[in-house]
């Protein structure tokens, strides 16, 4: 059923060890890797991210671990791998730069800070590819490698986020991350990023059609918390209709029902009598 090649764990690797996959790759790409240091980074990151989950429901730590695993395949050094595992601790947890620096040294801490800062450059309005690359040329290329791997794992799990964000991430992956990947000679990663980005855009193509855009615009009438769900549900329905005419009719009829839907969503169970 699943045609993706699965990495078979070696019989010697402990099944319960979350780092088993990473260690196995390192055995091939970096036999001299400091596994003890990497394991310590994992333990620290896991304790900071304790209780946090991803959209998919997986524990948050699975993400930085996956990023490190992607980088391990490229033969990244120990500092990069540690920084990858710790890359969200400063932004998303109470962990401080000083704490990281104390635990793992200034080099790892600087890499983590670098990835965090890069987010701010990219996040600022109107930043273009050349601006990002400009700030980046001066930066440590290992910071870029972490960001590229971070994006690759996010694109692999993009299905769990709202479709509008999926499209934005796909666009960015094509415009910024894939070119950066090729500059860093991370060609396999760049190619996978492009493939995932195109697949995401194709999957969400109805979001850009007129009926899709109308439906998305009209969800503004719904309470904010309900918008994403209905938006996505309707785009899924649009996709099941092969004829353009049917899609237009679906959009019009659905839009006519939105005021009533908004009322229902705001009052989910009017006058419902509590049992007992």
């Amino acid at each position: 059923m699943n045609s993706r090649p699965q990495i078979q764990p070696q019989p010697t690797a402990c099944q319960d060890d979350p780092l088993a996959g990473l260690c196995e790759i390192l055995r091939v790409t970096r036999p001299d890797a400091d596994l003890e240091l990497i394991r310590r980074a994992y333990d620290v990151a896991a304790s900071w991210h304790e209780g946090q989950t991803r959209r998919s429901g997986d524990p948050y730590i699975t993400h930085p671990l996956a990023v490190a695993t992607i980088l391990a395949e490229t033969g990244a050094d120990d500092q990069t791998l540690c920084a990858a595992i710790l890359h969200d601790t400063i932004d998303d947890t109470p962990c401080t730069l000083a704490a990281l620096s104390g635990d793992f040294g200034a080099e790892v801490a600087a890499l983590v800070v670098g990835t965090t800062e890069l987010d701010q450059v990219k996040g600022s309005r109107g930043s273009s590819l050349s601006q990002v690359l400009g700030t980046v040329r001066s930066a440590d290329t290992r910071v870029l490698a972490i960001k590229v791997a971070d994006r690759l794992h996010n694109m692999r799990t993009v299905e769990f986020i709202a479709h509008a964000k999926q499209l934005r991430k796909a666009r960015e992956s094509l415009d910024i991350f894939a070119p950066v990947a090729s500059q860093l000679s991370m060609d396999t990663i760049g190619a996978e990023l492009e493939m995932l980005a195109y697949a995401t855009m194709k999957r969400n193509r109805h979001a850009r059609s007129l009926p899709g855009r109308l439906l998305i615009a009209m969800t503004a009438l719904l309470p904010e918390a309900a918008r994403t769900r209905w938006c996505e549900e309707w785009l899924g329905e649009l996709h099941t209709l092969p004829a353009r005419r049917d899609r237009a009719s679906f959009a019009i009829h659905t839009i006519l029902g939105i005021p009533r839907l908004a009322y229902t969503v705001r009052n989910p169970a009017p006058g419902r009598r509590r049992a007992g």
């Binding site: 299905e159 329905e237 679906f250 009829h253 659905t254 009533r260």
Partner: protein, 116 residues
């Protein structure tokens, strides 16, 4: 008996359609076709049924939609309690209609009755 949902015509149509095979999850457009309702009528009904716990909805497994290259679908399923309540409510409504029909035919005897 009073139910958690006002048993409007569209609610009845949706419940009848879903009860036909209560164990099969369906997405909105499938229910819309089976219940013969426009989507604009259907979604508020689904939101209402979900709000009172008669129906549950969930996203399909994203692996399937990725494989098919389409957005994931939202699937609806009657809850156990919902299916039970829906059967009761629909049975009560048909019984009431049956009773009304038979009482009407007694109150207004046809031409045969009048001639007697």
């Amino acid at each position: 008996m009073k139910y958690a949902v006002k048993m409007t015509g569209s609610v009845q149509q949706v419940l009848r359609a879903m009860l036909e095979d209560a164990a099969v999850p369906r997405y909105g457009l499938q229910i819309s076709k089976q219940a013969d309702l426009e989507p604009g009528t259907l979604y508020p009904v689904m939101a209402r049924l979900e709000g009172v716990g008669w129906v549950e909805s969930s996203w399909e497994n994203p692996e399937l939609s990725i494989k098919d290259g389409r957005p994931r679908r939202r699937y609806y399923l009657l809850t156990k309690d919902g299916a039970e309540q829906a059967r009761l409510a629909l049975a009560e409504i048909s019984a009431r209609q049956e009773k009304r029909r038979s009482s009407l035919s007694i109150a207004q005897p046809g031409p045969l009755g009048a001639s007697l």
